[in-house]
């Protein structure tokens, strides 16, 4: 497997209405890791994805993927993208398996006749998102969470080494979220790069290796341990988070100065524990394996 690296250099995006959505963002992403892209609503997460896919034109800077331009990388099917909201017509006469098969078109010949490999890839992708039994359904006949999983399956079937997921957990239940996270981890173990946009803080430390914090500009980028700290999060979220702190004497009967900080935006809370009221993360809650029933 190749070693795709995404290089984003001094990227700025201004929309036609004059809104500066991103300013001077630079990051280098390596394969074999899950990277969380975290920021408030309107921080520019989706814009960053769209710029990486070439859907919006950068006003300055550029994105290169595995040393190629975005266009060429897309032609080689290196990047799979699962957008935040699918702007598709849910009444379209296609079955679930047809939609997932569309992920394979880039691998097929001129007439797009699926081979055995393509059929296998589709079956496997549906299996991995636990949607095999729905393959003959018309796509409108699914719940919101199931629709999301179908588009993840389409991205899997495409087989890109770089997978971009824009808020994949919105509208899915906890059990599905856990099984998606398991899936992402197994994909990364296969050497892929996964970039997940989310504002769901609580789960970030438990499944991401790296994290990018943005709010129009890049606020911080690095490994979760060193970057996902209370200071950085306050910078990223300002006063948008609920914030509970128990420090030193409030928490302990002894001289221990460590404290617990809970940050939440109504989704899974983020719990920080350690020196200076949890400014440094001493321990992040490890996720238990989701039980697959």
């Amino acid at each position: 497997m190749s070693n795709p690296i995404v290089t984003i250099k001094n990227l700025s995006v201004t929309y036609p209405n004059g809104h500066h959505a991103l300013e001077d963002v630079s990051v280098n992403l390596k394969s074999g890791s899950i990277c969380g892209l975290v920021g408030v609503n309107g921080a520019g997460k989706s814009t960053l994805f769209k710029a990486m896919m070439g859907f919006v034109k950068p006003t300055a800077g550029n994105v290169s993927i595995d040393g190629m331009s975005v266009r060429n990388a897309l032609k080689k099917n290196l990047v799979s993208y699962v957008p935040q909201t699918e702007e598709v017509d849910w009444d379209f006469p296609v079955l679930v398996e047809d939609v997932v098969m569309m992920g394979r078109y880039g691998h097929m010949g001129f007439l797009r006749r699926p081979s055995k490999t393509d059929h296998d890839a589709v079956a496997q992708a549906l299996e991995r998102v636990n949607m095999s039994e729905y393959k003959k359904r018309q796509i409108g006949e699914l719940s919101g969470g199931q629709r999301k999983r179908i588009f993840v399956a389409r991205a899997l079937a495409q087989g890109g080494n770089i997978i971009l997921l824009d808020e994949p957990f919105t509208g899915v239940d906890i059990k599905t979220e856990d099984s998606l996270i398991d899936l992402f981890q197994s994909l990364v173990a296969e050497g892929r790069l996964i970039l997940v946009a989310t504002h769901n803080l609580g789960s970030v430390p438990s499944f991401c290796d790296e994290v990018i914090l943005i709010n129009k500009t890049l606020l911080a980028y690095g490994s979760v341990e060193t970057t996902f700290t209370q200071d950085n999060l306050s910078k990223a979220f300002g006063g948008m988070l609920r914030h509970h702190q128990l420090i030193g004497a409030d928490l302990h009967d002894d001289e221990d100065a460590r404290g617990v900080t809970v940050l939440t935006d109504d989704e899974r809370p983020l719990v920080l524990y350690g020196e200076e009221g949890g400014k440094k993360i001493v321990r992040t809650p490890k996720r238990k394996k989701a039980d697959k029933t």
Binding site: F55, P83, V88, D89, M102, G103
Partner: protein, 284 residues
């Protein structure tokens, strides 16, 4: 009896009318499968009317009418695309705006040069009186359309279903869209000759709409639609011999009757089936 039924085929002009109608009907039906999905059904109508100035000019300049029609068709489609991109107007307003403008220009040209074009031939079409030269144009256009559609129908589905995804897997989205509108313009030109500008809309809407009620798979939808389009067109042309009626009117009436049948009796989405299913669920 048999002799009577076969009688139309003994006339060369009837025989030609039947198979040319079947061909054009099939191509329009193919395109209708896509148009209906996108809510672009009125686009076919708009194009048919937009073509009038091109046809008028072509006659004036003694060019094949298909050339003029084709270029104004493309011009109209492009104008719609540009207005759509640059403004926030909704599609229906844009289609209405562009097509009335083109149609008005066409009427103007015709009224200044009244002898130049038989405008009625464009608006009503008359397959029974079509010249061999025009038939050649219609047939060539139809075969090119069918050929391209058969090669690229899957790519077009991908683009129509999810344009961004099509882009992300490296499909040439803009080229495919331009191809589609080129084919649509070309097919509209062909249909003008057979059923006329007023009824082109039915040819590029009804078969697809009927097929939509009958299946959840796009491949089958196209097959059903093309079969319906071809058969009704052939049958309409054939029946016009006995009824001494306008073939276009007959073709569209037939298509509508089949649509109504599907509306009531379709296995999954028909009115009766839906009622029965709900009644069963409530009763259980």
């Amino acid at each position: 009896m048999i002799d009577l039924l076969l009688e139309p085929f003994t006339y060369n002009y009837m025989f030609k009318a039947i198979w040319v109608c079947a061909l054009v009907g099939g191509v329009c039906a193919f395109l209708s499968s896509y148009l209906m999905l996108k809510g672009w059904s009125l686009m076919g109508d708009a194009l048919a009317h937009s073509i009038v100035p091109g046809v008028a000019l072509a006659y004036l300049l003694a060019l094949p009418y298909a050339v003029g029609a084709f270029f104004t068709g493309i011009l109209a489609a492009l104008s719609m695309a540009i207005v759509k991109q640059k403004t926030k107007l909704r599609e229906d307003a844009i289609i209405g705006l562009v097509f009335t403008t083109f149609f008005a220009i066409g009427l103007l040209i015709v009224s200044i040069n009244p002898t130049a074009v038989n405008i009625q031939a464009i608006i009503l079409g008359n397959i029974l009186a079509i010249s061999d030269y025009d038939i050649a144009q219609v047939v060539i256009i139809s075969f090119i359309c069918l050929f391209v559609l058969l090669l690229k129908w899957k790519d077009l589905v991908a683009v129509f279903f999810d344009e961004n995804h099509a882009r992300s897997i490296g499909l040439p989205v803009n080229a495919l869209k331009i191809t589609f509108f080129t084919l649509l313009s070309a097919a509209t030109v062909a249909a003008l000759q057979t059923v006329g500008a007023c009824l082109v809309i039915a040819m590029v809407v009804t078969p697809g709409a009927t097929a939509y009620l009958l299946t959840d798979r796009f491949g089958r939808l196209i097959t059903i639609s093309v079969l319906l389009g071809s058969l009704t067109s052939a049958l309409g042309a054939y029946a016009s011999y006995f009824l001494d009626a306008n073939p276009g009117g007959l073709i569209v009436t037939l298509q509508t009757l089949i649509f109504l049948a599907a509306f009531f009796f379709a296995p999954k989405y028909g009115l009766l089936k839906v009622r029965k299913t709900i009644a069963k669920k409530v009763g259980a």
